[in-house]
Every structure is written in structure tokens, then in C-alpha cells.
Symmetry: C3
Subunit: 351 residues, 3 copies
């Protein structure tokens, strides 16, 4: 009579297309989470840093960093969706909704939107749409994600393959501008740089210059804060038996670090509106030093707004060498070994 | 004229049976403490995680983890009781009272309830009853603890030996159910598992499966957060001169980590009501990977309640090997080297 | 078209005497920051720890540690003043104004008050006066600091040398006593020691006894929390190419650790009123174990107050050996290698 109460997570054959999952552990976000987020990544975006400034721009108080909301929403899905994941394959169609404030309580609900068994019969790909909502049921984030999941039993029959259609990018019409936000009042001195939306040119690349060396306890503290339970981040004994011999850093930790570094060059791009695609190109471990660079992919007007525009950006994180030469893909189109993150997202920037 | 203002703590001959100690540094608990607690141990108990859920169950907001309250109450006693302790011998008769909420201010008062000099004449055992109370004087935790303390002067005369009578377990009648708590409304989906009080059987053992590798900075951050000043946790230079050559991890850090791991299998056992006994069977150091298992010792009805029952549990933490074989004691009744914690406690569980 | 948006900070020739700088990123202080500060340094000063106690003494709630305010105010200046600093030469004339509470938003403004090119033509000294204010414009801290900054272009002409006059110590008349504070109600038991202002004698030295070993992630978490962006604290790859081969610990981290250790001997010296001078005598790295000692330099009455007095103190932090022999300067007047901090400050103490 052992282990019967312990969840070992879902395996590939446990998922059904259309299946709805209410994830456990609703989470009230607090000022404590914000302080830890600051200590972990050092973000300096002024709107998230100052209640006073946020109020002058029409927010009730400083919203929390959009990626903190992302990690909390994402973390809840892990015990149900990716505890037996072999690989985190991608994100798409991520739209950020209402801002999150300390005091809000977040819950996540997912729907299985695709399934495809791999030809080896041992694993399959699971697509889910996950929606994070606050205590009033307002959507704070909706995104699709697909992961390769192990089968419990290789002889279990393959389901009918369903591959969802996902947009390559969220169209600008679907972006959400926080209600009441008026960026005409934006303070570029407090923001840290004079650059407006119109100052960025498509094709422009920015080396964010600074580097940050990761420590084991930092990514563990972060990943636990998000109540993300994936074993690979925490159990060195398990890692010793695996391929890398190291605890893997949660991919979201790398995203937040790179985003923090991107402040130097994108100081006023304070609000993330969409997450179009993301790849964790190579694994990251404690001891790695991360650098980052960005490229402006699109500059989009937002319908009906003269105070704010959208910048679609590629954010690339690089390990153990500076980003000055903009490391990316090699001649065969494969990521260079130094590249650990390739993120395609849209930020709102005052005009 | 040096060191005169510095406290070197109490030695065995400084204690008297009946002596009352008002410990220094009252401590206001905040949402910041809760966030750090989450980052340090990754707890997922839904009632402590969500203000919304807590309110639906009759709490004014999410209470803080009972062990966070324990560590804060305990931490205050260290400068007076155990700064010169050679060993932390045991806990008994721990009863949790009113829940603790952010904004509460905790103080601790202790009474010496027993003294017994050891035959070597160099050390003695000190028993104290410590009571933590909030700003309204309501008891949040009362427990007995005994420690082996050094004598300042081996020639000091031995006091009359007084050994207090302590119950082997807190009887169910003395358990406190938080006022206003109505678990008829409990949400098992949010809680993370369907298991109710009645689903657990006496003798059932649960392997909590997951592992967590400890880092030096994590236990230091935790122990400082609790304002616990025991030198052995912080001073590597001192440790280099000692037996282990390593900084010792605060035993309470191990308790909280094991309790966090126990969520997987005991997801709805969210409230600790009593702490019957505890032994730190072997020392824990940074780099150790901890696993945990539980055994159901008793299943008790709570007088007058149909919505909630009590589970008396043994929680065992194991280092550097999985808990799958339930490591515990050897044929001679001694703890195996891998066992670092043996905790006998009672949790409240919805029925 | 690269790097154009990235700030590389100011070089010596970018500064002009009289130049005013509004630093970016106003910062709302929260209970989360306070909890992290406690976890990082373990301070136990009762007034900062307990809202209840603080209210009894006339504060609206527990103020945050004065050094947390210092680090936040200081951190904002780094991107503009010291990103290209070769050395942090000194502090002077630091006066703490109104206390800082969670919810306050801090901004920093600086004025260049002195400039002097070095004879090598490659660097120069920049003096700034920095003023941190809350959301009502009340000064929380004003201090002078001077740093040696690189020139971008060695051939740039030297400015006229201006060396500001700075007092060797802030006179007692300029010290600020928090409005409404009544220390007649002070609780020495809660404070942790019986020692009043009058119990300290000029010339008295106190060995603070305890030691604390620093970890890499601890100083990184701290320095990011303060939004201090100096590269030397974060980038191990950069450090590998430098003189020390190690990430440098932010000097303010050492100040806070030493101040935390000083509680044992100065338990009731809870409020810092002035910072007269400070030297980071030697670099500190992760793995170092810090000890501290203090010397009473002056005991001053505060005009019109019988409930509180001022103690001018020297706080010395020592690495990798105990402070028992009070390590300081050698026969030639140079700091011993073990000395990492020499801080001359004034604390308020109940009488």
C-alpha cells in the first residue's frame, strides 16, 4: 500500500483532445513576489517599479512584471501537463490580458487542443491552450504550448492525430492595451532612456551588453516561487544519472533574465502584449553567464491609439560569450551552441 | 573594556526551574515572509496560497504556513536558550493555536520547566516551554523543547534535577480548529488531489517521490529570515574547526522542505495542529538531496466536527537516496545514516 | 546600426560641475523588500521588526532599515555616475531624513559638486551630492560620494579642478530625529539588551563575535534588489579577465552584514542618523567569512531631547579572522589585509 496517494503526473495516453483541466493551487500574488522577482532578475522598468508613476499613467498601482504573471500561470500547469515531458517544444499565440496587481489571485485552466504520437511509439506531442485568470475571471494570459510527453505504456494505442492550427504571430488587432492606460503622461527620464516607439527601426539590432552569471540557488528559488514542480530543476541526484549531470535551469528563468538585461536598450518597452513563439535552443546551467540581444522585427501602430505603439521583437539569450556579434543560427539554420533562448514577442512602447 | 556589551548567551548554570524569559525582537509577519517561504520550499497547500479560497473556507485571508509561524516563534528563543547548545534533543507537546496572518506581530515567552546536569559535569539538559503569541496575546503555538547546554564553569554546582512530564502525544481534545473554518466548502480540485481524511488508512505509507537538493545560501537566507542566530548555520570558518567541516543546516529548514515534498500525497492536509515529537536524526549539509515519506499513525475524529478530521503522521526525511524503500531505523533501533528527520505531527484534513 | 540604444554610462569628460541628474526608475518600497533584507542580513533591531513596537514609540508603523533606504537611493545613481568607475573612493556628509515606510516611493537626484582629472590623463575623480526623496518630496537621505571614473578619450581636455569642501563629520545639530518619536516608551527587553546611550563610553570597543560566510547568490540577490547595475558584481566571465578573477561583492552588502552583526553589542542603536565617512578597505568575495567590531567615537546629546542621544561609532568589518583583536591599520597607517570596511556613522540610542 505505497505511493497510491502520490501523483506521478499524466502520461501521453492520459490526454484526450478537448479535455479540460482545472489546475490546482490558486495563487494570490503579493508584494513579496514582486520583491523576489526584482532580486532574481533586477528589472528596472519604471511602471512596474513605482506605484506613483503607474498611477500617473492610469494604472491603479504598479502592475507586476508580465513575466512574473506568466511564470505563475505556467507553473500551475506543470503537475498536470509536463511532469513526464521529455522536451518543451514551443509556445505560440500568447496574449496578455488585464494587468496583474498584488492582491490578485491567479488560477489556470487548460484545454488539450492537439495530440500526435511519435513514430517511435514511446512518446507523443501534447498541445494545450492554457488560460490564466484573476479572481474576477478576467483573462491575464492565454497561450498555447506543446510538449513531448512519455507514454506510460508503449503498447497503448495511438490516438487519432490532431494538430492544431496556431498563428505564426498574434495580429496587432488582438493585442490588449491595459484599460485606462494613458502614455501621453509617460516620463522618459524616470523610464531611463529617451527612446520612443518611433525611434526604433525594423531590422535594428541591440546588444544589451551586460552579463549575469547564474547560481544554483537563484533558479531554484525562482522555480519554487512559481510553484513549478518539474524535477529536473531541483534534484541533483537525479541529474547525476541523466545526460547533463546538472540541474537544468527552468527556461522561464532564462526568459526573465534576458528580459531584465534588455532594459538597457529597451527601457521604455515596459509592457509585454504578446508572446508569438519561443524556443529554448540549448540548456542552461548554474555557472553559465548570460548575455542578450534584441532585433526589431515589426513596428506596428495600435488601432485608435496615438500614445502607444507595438514593437515586435526577437530576444536572444547567449551563454558564456558576449552578444556583440549577435550569435544566432549557423549556415544550416541550426541554433549556435551559445544560443539558449529565441523569443518572439511584442512589447508596448510610448510614442 | 571589550565584549562587555556582547551577549554570549546563557550557559547551563544560568538557568533556574520556573525562570521566565521574555525573548527579544517581536516580529511582524508580512507577505514578504510568505513569498520567501514559498521560494525556499515550494509549498502548494491551496489554503495558504490563495486569499480567495481561504475566505470561502471562513478564514479572513490566507493564513501563513504553520511552520513559518513555528520558525519565527522558535527563532526568538535561540539567543537566550540555545546559543551554547551542544545538541537539540527533542520537541514535545506542540499545539498550534490561532492561525497567523500577514500583519500579525509575534512574540515568544519561555519558561524553564526542567534541568538535569549530565554526569560529565560539563553539560546539562534544559527543558523549556515556549509560547508564541500574536499582538492580541492569542497563543499561536506552544511547545516544549529540550537541549543539551554547555556549562560556563564545570565547577559550578549541579542544580536539583527536575525532569518534566511531557505527553507522548497531544490528545485530540487539545487540538485547536481555527475559529470560523468550514471545510464543507473545501475545493479538492484547487487542493490538488481528491483524497479526504477518510481515504487515509492507519499504517499506510506514502513515498513523496520528489527530491530537492539544498544550497548553502538557501538555508542561510531561511535561518536569517527567522532571526535565528545559531552560529553553526552561518560561519564556515568556525565549521572548519569543528567535527563536520560544514555549516549545519537548521533543522527547521529540513522540516519545511520535507513538509513541502509531502504535498504530493498529502495535498489536503493543509493545517498542522500538533507537533508531538521530533528528532533530527542526522545532520544535513548543503549539497544533500532530500526525499521524504510519511506514515499514517492515527486517524482521529475531532469532537463535534463532521467537516474535518485529524491525521497523526510520521514524516521522515531521507538524504541522498530516494524514499522508496522507506528508510527508517536499523535492527538495533537506531536511525539509518540516511535518515535526517523523524517528525510526529498531526494535520487537519477535510472529510 | 548596433548598440545605439544601449547606455554605456557617463565617462569623466561627460560630467560638468553643477550638472543636475534625475536618476531613472523611481522605486516603491514594499514589505517584500523588508523580508528580503531580513533574509539577507538577519537584522534584529526591534523597531524595524515590529509594527506594534514602532507604533508605541510614535512611528506610524515599523520603518524600513535605514541601510535598505541607503541601498535603494544609491542604486539609482549607478547607471549615471559609476558605471565606468574604477574605484569607489569615499562617502561623506550623509544625513538620514524622514524614515522610509513600505509604500513609499523613492527617487534620487544628484548634483556634480567636484571634478579633478588625475595626472595620468586617463581617469578623474567625480564628486556628487545625491539626495533621495519620497513621494512627498521629503528627503530621506542626502550624502556626498566620490568615485574615480574612466575617461572615454584620454585626449579630452581636463576640466578646471573643483574640489568640494566636505565636513569630516556631520555636526549633531544637523541630525534628524524622526518626527513624533518618543523613546521614553522604549522597551529594552524587546530591544534585546539593557544598554542605554549613557552606558556606552567613548573609546569603548565591542567585538560583535558572530561570523557570517557570504555566498555568491546572496550578494547578487541583494544588489539586484537595489537595482544596482554595476557589472563587477554579476558577470563572472568578465571577472575571469580581471584582476581578482572573482565577482566583487557590492560594498553596501558588506555594510549591511556588518551592521547586522553589530546588533550583538549595539542592540538598541536602531536608527542611523548620519554617515560621516566610509572606506571599502579591501575587496570582499563569496566564500569570505565576515566578522565585525565597533568603537564608540563620540557620545553626543541631542539638543532638546532627554529620551534619545547620539553615538558616533566606527564599524569595522574583518574577513576570515575573528574581530577579537580588533584588526584595523598597521604601523604605516594602512588598513590590514583582513579589514574590508571602515565606517564612521552616528546612531540614535534611547537614554
Amino acid at each position: 500500500m505505497t505511493k497510491t496517494k502520490t501523483s506521478s503526473g499524466n502520461f501521453f495516453e492520459d490526454f484526450r483532445v478537448g479535455q479540460a483541466i482545472d489546475h490546482a493551487t490558486p495563487r494570490t500574488v503579493t508584494e513579496g513576489d514582486v520583491a523576489l522577482y526584482t532580486a532574481l532578475y533586477g528589472p528596472r522598468f519604471a511602471v512596474q517599479s513605482s506605484d506613483e508613476l503607474a498611477r500617473r499613467l492610469g494604472f491603479p498601482r504598479a502592475p507586476v512584471d508580465d513575466l512574473l504573471a506568466f511564470h505563475l500561470v505556467f507553473g500551475k500547469t506543470v503537475p498536470d501537463v509536463s511532469l513526464n515531458a521529455v522536451a518543451n517544444l514551443g509556445y505560440a499565440d500568447g496574449v496578455f490580458g488585464v494587468p496583474v496587481y498584488p492582491g490578485d489571485t491567479l488560477s489556470t485552466h487548460s484545454t488539450v487542443i492537439g495530440l500526435k504520437e511519435n513514430s517511435n511509439g514511446k512518446t507523443g506531442v501534447v498541445w494545450v491552450r492554457s488560460v490564466g485568470a484573476n479572481q474576477r475571471g478576467e483573462v491575464v494570459l492565454s497561450y498555447a504550448r506543446w510538449v513531448m510527453v512519455q507514454k506510460r505504456d508503449a503498447s497503448a494505442p495511438a490516438p487519432a492525430a490532431v494538430t492544431p492550427e496556431l498563428p505564426r504571430a498574434v495580429p496587432v488587432e488582438r493585442l490588449s492595451v491595459p484599460e485606462g492606460m494613458r502614455l501621453g503622461e509617460y516620463d522618459f527620464t524616470a523610464g531611463g532612456a529617451p527612446h520612443k516607439w518611433g525611434d526604433y527601426a525594423v531590422g535594428e539590432r541591440i546588444d544589451h551588453v551586460d552579463g549575469m552569471t547564474l547560481e544554483e540557488s537563484e533558479h531554484q528559488l525562482a522555480t519554487r516561487l512559481y510553484q513549478n514542480t518539474a524535477k529536473v530543476h531541483f534534484d541533483q541526484r537525479l541529474a547525476d544519472q541523466g545526460r547533463f549531470k546538472r540541474r537544468l535551469v527552468y527556461g522561464g528563468h532564462v526568459i526573465s533574465l534576458a528580459r531584465g538585461l534588455s532594459f538597457n536598450g529597451l527601457s521604455n518597452a515596459f509592457r509585454i502584449a504578446a508572446l508569438h513563439a519561443g524556443a529554448h535552443a540549448n540548456p542552461t546551467f548554474a555557472g553559465d553567464t548570460l548575455y542578450a540581444w534584441s532585433e526589431v522585427l515589426e513596428r506596428q501602430e495600435i488601432p485608435g491609439r496615438k500614445d502607444v505603439g507595438a514593437l515586435r521583437l526577437r530576444l536572444v539569450a547567449v551563454k558564456n560569450e558576449p552578444a556583440a556579434r549577435f550569435p544566432y543560427k549557423n549556415a544550416e539554420g541550426k541554433y549556435e551552441d551559445a544560443v539558449v533562448l529565441d523569443l518572439d514577442y511584442t512589447a508596448l512602447v510610448p510614442r
